[in-house]
Amino acid sequence: MSTSASRGEIAILGTGLAGMGHAGGATEQEIIAQAASAAIERSGLRKSDIDGIITSSLTSPWWVMRMAEYLGIRPRFSDSTMFGGSAFIADLKIAQMAIAAGECENVLICYGSTPRSVPSSSRLNQMRAELDPQPYEHPYKAFNPVSSYSLAAARHMYEYGTTRQQLAEVAVAARKWAQLNPDAFVKKPLTVDEVINAKMISDPLTVLDCCLVTDGAGAIVVTSSQRAKSLHRKPIYVLGSGFAHWHRQISCMEDLTITPAVESGRKAFDQAGLTPADVDVVELYDAFTINPILFLEDLGFCKKGEGGAFIEGGRIEPGGEFPMNTNGGGLSCVHPGMYSIFLIIEAVTQLRAEAHARQVHGAEVALVHGNGGVLSSQATAILSSAL
């Protein structure tokens, strides 16, 4: 496999978390600023060194300007492309291109939200729907986003014989990892039967197949790999990344069992010059239990249709041979609307061997994969502790 000239151009320095679980009345801007402040400090930088900022919001189209204003940053480069939950992994590619082009040196990527302490009012949900109209789906009153993922799960079960048991195992494994993570929101023991017999939301997915709704903010700082070595003891290199989107609405998805992760994963692996066999730990956006099964297939960890069998029998649990979603995932750790910033931060923690009880021993290469919309946008990055 040939290696791209842009392989490993940027590295992640400091990371920060804030307001995890329940932010106790703090606003979105406040917890994002706390996470950003921590990330900048741990990067060996001062705020005045940050000359690029990337962030996005489920609510405000002005978000990057509001956050830059709040933080007191006049960025040379900024971006706020709305990819949904995959955004912050896609942002690694945007940051890489901006840094390589000489537009900026040190980019802050940040996100946070408080849907747990300040639940969206029905008025706000109505406004969001009005601003992103889907008049050909809306009349059928799908319980979205769950119903859209249920349609994908049902089709995967129909075509490949994926079982309810296998879906439930994804949630059970996530809970077991969460029990090892002090930052995780839900740690109560969970069984396959409890997942299957929980309240059905939109068949075949129950409430325990769905991610949490929590508060939380995360931030990272990236810079050129060249500069990173002098700034941080353990820079984490972004060897490759890629993103893709093929549809917005589930009715416009061509094959409900094949996501744009096929494309984002290929781009990331090609740039990194690696294959799935080189990956030690994976962090996949588990908004719903069907998601990791689809992504493992699309990213090439197993063949199409074999994702259910791949995760079976405790393989993805702590101590299993395929460590996955080691923070407890969106299912059991944290999920403030958009989640992918937390995938990056968990991978960095693992690659720095700072994950304590949940540490994957000898982890040198991590894959992070984000999902947005209704399987609409996908973003993948390959991270490593060495170039």
Partner: protein, 138 residues
Amino acid sequence: MNESSIKPADAPQSMTVKAHDKRYFDALAQGVFEIPQCRDCQKFHFFPRVCCPYCGSQALQWVAPSGKGIVYSVTIVRARQGDDYTVVLVDLEEGPRLMSRVVDMPVEDVKIGMPVLARIDQTEDGPLLVFTAAGEQS
């Protein structure tokens, strides 16, 4: 675009239903189910657009499809109030896929691969394209 004989309804246009959508929903309100077909590449598409998503052409015409389709996927929404209902994706015989609902049968009996037939229901929220089981048809 062939405007045919569909007359616009007098109701004010809601924010979520723009001009081109209005043509589709006005037809449904008059009991007519039509979808756009490209006169250049001949492909049908859905949802309706002002240019063909396959070849980009603006030479489109509205055509009544056969109404026959196959259920591509199904979920049952467990309603907080009232009866449970299905949300399905249906592949029309002409090619396009659309979201809809299969009615007039128990929700648990709606299955992937089922042949279905389109029907327009006039509801209090406006006209709604739904499907019913097509039975033993080939």
